[in-house]
């Protein structure tokens, strides 16, 4: 180990300390939603248990002081009454970028699975959940749409996010030595020409931000990740190049779900319904909107669990507007399993 190695290693440890503290705070916030008393109790109990670990160079007294600081900060955090938004993936995922676009005051908390998001928002652990529903090049996110069919949550917002991929390496990494690039298959696919031009080998990884995190934490030789600019900031990675996607118009649409519908007026509505297996039924539904000059922005079909089809329909307008109100009444008569997913505002980010 030379001087430079040791210096780098120290920086990595500092980085881990910070990330672990962040993770600890996030867990505590989650715990406080499950059981507020349990969260408060874990503070002093944790001290007792943790002291047993202080048997190395770090003296128990220093550890006690440090721990008190952490507990103090945790208490402050719990008292701040923060609103939590769940997203799928690691910190730095495009879903987190979208969550920040929608409301920068929310605390984004990572979840492993989409189901977890829906379940835990329903259970009251999170205030909001944000999920990708469609991408203009990759198509529908089927798994999410299936979950939307089964949820009782309401759509309270949407974000259209321009996806810009970055090529990321650990600080001081040399682009000349790059050989392998880790990322989610969809991101690798979207940067295929870029990778080919620079003779880089794409290696699929479970998540874009997860790849960035792995690159930062394990620094495999000659390797880079493709992820968001946010991931570069969060994992202190160097951006070799921004906007490496082959086609500039790469947009993902996200929906934000909550337990209660939005109280204020919206500009867009989402509904889901099924129709009888008869010729022309879907056409008659669409006609209802066309007659009133209501602009449809998305129509999507999806097999439901009963072996028939569910249709997702998005359109412009507020549910209190007279034409929309009338249209919805009429559509309910023409369809089965009708549900208003929500009326909300949509944000766009370049």
């Amino acid at each position: 180990m030379n001087l430079e190695d040791i210096r780098r290693h120290l920086l990595t440890i500092d980085y881990r300390l910070i990330k672990l503290l962040d993770e600890r705070m996030e867990l505590l916030l989650k715990l406080s939603r499950l059981d507020a008393d349990a969260a408060k109790q874990i503070l002093p109990n944790g001290l007792q248990e943790a002291r047993q670990y202080a048997q190395g160079l770090v003296e128990a007294d220093f550890y006690r002081r440090l721990y008190k600081e952490i507990l103090g900060e945790s208490k402050k955090l719990l008292n701040r009454n923060l609103k939590l938004v769940a997203f799928q993936g690691e910190h730095g995922a495009y879903s987190e970028v979208a969550a920040r676009v929608w409301d920068a005051a929310l605390v984004p908390i990572p979840c492993t699975e989409f189901t977890e998001i829906f379940e835990e928002v329903e259970a009251g652990i999170f205030d909001y959940g944000i999920v990708p529903v469609e991408n203009n090049t990759g198509g529908q996110v089927n798994q999410v749409n299936q979950l939307v069919l089964g949820t009782s949550l309401h759509v309270v917002g949407a974000v259209e996010l321009h996806i810009h991929h970055c090529l990321l390496v650990p600080r001081g990494g040399d682009y000349r030595e790059l050989h392998s690039v880790y990322s989610h298959t969809q991101a690798l696919e979207q940067c295929r020409q870029f990778l080919a031009r620079n003779r880089l080998q794409p290696i699929p990884y479970y998540d874009t931000a997860g790849a960035a995190r792995m690159i930062a934490e394990t620094t495999p030789p000659s390797s880079a990740a493709i992820a968001s600019k946010l991931a570069a900031e969060l994992y202190n990675l160097e951006i070799i190049k921004e906007n490496i996607e082959d086609f500039p118009h790469n947009i993902t649409r996200f929906l934000i779900f909550a337990r209660e519908p939005l109280q204020e007026r919206g500009t867009k509505c989402s509904i889901v319904f099924s129709t009888e297996h008869k010729a022309g039924t879907l056409f008659r539904v669409l006609e209802v909107f066309a007659r009133r000059g209501i602009n449809l922005t998305r129509i999507e079909s999806m097999p439901n669990l009963r072996g028939s089809f569910a249709f997702f329909l998005d359109f412009e307008g507020d549910q209190q507007d007279a034409p929309v109100k009338q249209a919805l009444q009429e559509v309910q008569k023409l369809t089965t399993d009708f549900r208003m997913l929500g009326c909300y505002n949509e944000k766009r980010a370049e």
Binding site: R176, R197, N198, I240
Partner: protein
């Protein structure tokens, strides 16, 4: 020179090279900017000044082939990023030198024109590599090279599949020491006879003296060159490389003013000649 299958004029039409919205080989194209990209402030300030004065493209070195290994070697990747940013903000296409075959694909990600410097004119591995890209190449004449050798270097790039080569005469080594090099202005009409490619003049390296850049630029116009590659720095005395030959923005702006009038004069002159020829 019968082996110059692709570079020789041989009755071919003059090649016009499209770099974004700029057409090299048509009118008079001015490429200006600092010798090296030194900082964000330096490249942005200089880019805005040269754009204001009427430059068509921005130059700036990120990889510097310096005589001494201890001299400033350029900012590398960081320099490329800053140059791209300056180009994006000003809308000027950017020209930058590439010195290492391993860098070629990466420089292509950031620059609009790849420059091959005088010292690399016969770096055949590098010529083949840039010949495989789809970016126009600005090929400087080697400071010790004959026109014949230059033509064969061009042939290397064309033969590798890249038809877009811009030539640049930047002075050659002679026994004269007052100027950094001796500008071979006759290379302009000579190369026009010998090839179909556009040729520009670099008066900054040719003279090494800011005071002489203006007159050599006017000479370039009169000799029929297709443009200029000229070094401009927002604060020449503080430049990290070639500070004696870089113009300040005011000098550049004054030079551009004179240049435009001379270009206009020559255009009128050639139009007159054309209409006389028709009658």
């Amino acid at each position: 020179m019968d082996q110059l299958k692709l570079a020789a004029r041989n009755g071919r039409d003059k090649t016009i090279i499209q770099v974004k919205h700029v057409r090299v080989g048509e009118g008079f194209v001015v490429i200006a900017g600092p010798c090296s990209v030194e900082s964000e402030e330096q490249i942005l300030a200089t880019a805005l000044k040269v754009k204001e004065a009427g430059a068509d493209m921005l130059r700036g070195g990120a990889f510097k082939p310096r005589t001494s290994p201890y001299a400033f070697q350029g900012l590398g990747l960081q320099g490329l990023k800053l140059l791209e940013k300056a180009g994006r903000i000003t809308g000027l296409p950017v020209v930058t030198e590439v010195v290492d075959p391993r860098d070629v694909s990466w420089v292509c990600e950031f620059a609009d024109v790849l420059q091959i410097g005088t010292r690399n004119m016969q770096n055949f591995a590098l010529l083949k590599e840039v010949g495989k890209t789809d970016k126009p190449v600005l090929l400087k004449r080697g400071m010790y090279s004959s026109l014949r050798e230059w033509l064969y270097s061009i042939e290397y790039i064309l033969n590798a599949g890249n038809p877009n080569v811009i030539l640049c005469e930047r002075g050659i080594r002679t026994f004269e020491t007052y100027t950094r090099n001796t500008l071979d202005i006759s290379a302009v009409p000579a190369m026009k006879e010998l090839t179909h490619l556009p040729i520009i003049i670099d008066p900054s390296h040719a003279t090494g003296r800011a005071s002489m850049v203006g007159s050599m630029s006017l000479a370039a116009v009169s000799a029929g060159a297709d443009g200029l590659l000229v070094e401009v720095h927002y604060r020449p005395p503080q430049a990290l490389s070639d500070k004696d030959q870089q113009l300040d923005p005011q000098q550049f702006s004054r030079m551009m003013h004179k240049l435009r009038r001379l270009v206009h004069f020559h255009q009128q002159f050639s139009e007159e000649k054309q209409s006389q020829g028709e009658t």
